[in-house]
Every structure is written in structure tokens, then in C-alpha cells.
Symmetry: C2
Subunit: 81 residues, 2 copies
Amino acid sequence: MLFPMSRNPEEPVYNRIEAARISLGLSRQELADKAGVHYQTIGYLEREEYSPSLVLALRIAKALNQEVSELFSLNPIKKGK
Amino acid sequence: MLFPMSRNPEEPVYNRIEAARISLGLSRQELADKAGVHYQTIGYLEREEYSPSLVLALRIAKALNQEVSELFSLNPIKKGK
DNA sequence: GAGTTATGTTGCATTAATGCTACATAGCAT
DNA sequence: ATGCTATGTAGCATTAATGCAACATAACTC
């Protein structure tokens, strides 16, 4: 798989968007609406096909009531919580 | 002044990069090296001429030993603190 | 079966973020 | 005065992030 990812193809960004979204009982469309983006964009992010802009990351974090650092990481997300 | 800013021209991202950098006694060049970006990029960010990618925001936060949410905000940065 | 919802996939167009180069300026040394 | 460092500015090229449309599919309900 390719990692286009920002300006740094070598350093992808991992996230827990899907888990956080599901735990709130939201569909992608609903999260997209709360964050003000296209619903496909949420899909791309959950599949980690690319990493978001900071603006988008901040909006998603707000929509999910999470800290940016809890949702996104430069290191692979550890499974246990 | 214009606000190109990500995909959302209406919603800029504010930051405290300069204050944090100076309090660590770093030049832009040094911070840029630590974050792995061009030194001009730090300048653009400090002047808030555009907002960084999430990857870059995470790297800068790490280089400055700060939380992303402490360095960047969707709301204007309050002076005190 | 028909319809709806949620998701995945592909492709295309636009634009902002970044790198880089060059030049200017100001300050601070020597 | 000469140099060096830090910074601002402008321009150009590249590419990733996003929007959007179209289509497929699976699950579920009626």
C-alpha cells in the first residue's frame, strides 16, 4: 500500500477516528456533518489513506470530544484503549 | 490580510509557536531542523500565513515539548499564560 | 422484490502546504 | 566596513488533501 500522506511519505499519521465515532454511535455522514467535511473524507481518514490538515484534525477532535493527541499519533495506535 | 489556510479559508488556525520556540532559546532554523522542515515554513506558520498539516503540527509539538492543543487552536490565542 | 442506509472504490478538479531560491534588512559582533 | 545571524518577502514548482460524482455491495426493513 502507498502512503501519500502529507509532505512526508515516510511518516504516516495513525488515528482512532473510527473507534471514537462508533463509540458515539455516529455514522460517517453524521461525523462529517459535525466536522463540516465531505463524508468520503472521513472514510479516507479512517482507512488512513491520508492524513488530515490540522484544521480538520482539530474539528474532528472537537466533534468527537477527544484531544488531538488522543485521536492522532505519529506512532501506531496501541490496541488496549 | 488573506487567509488561504487549509481548505477552510474562513477558519484559520492560531498558534504559539514563536513564544514556545523563543522560550526554548531556539532559532527558526534550529526548530525547523528538529521538526524536519524548511526554516521558511516555520516563519510562515509563526506569521499564521497558513496552517500546517497534522503531521507537521505533531512534529513541531514534539520538538517544542508541547501538546498539540496547547500550541494550536481554532480560537484566537489568549495572551495571559 | 424494492428501497434505504452505511460503506468502499475509482476518478477527476481544485487549491493549500511545503520546499527551495533569491533578495532585502536589521542587529550584532569583530 | 565587513561579516554573520535571524528574519521577512516574493516567486515558482510539486503534490497531498479535499470535494464531489458515480457506481458497487451488503445488510436491513418494508
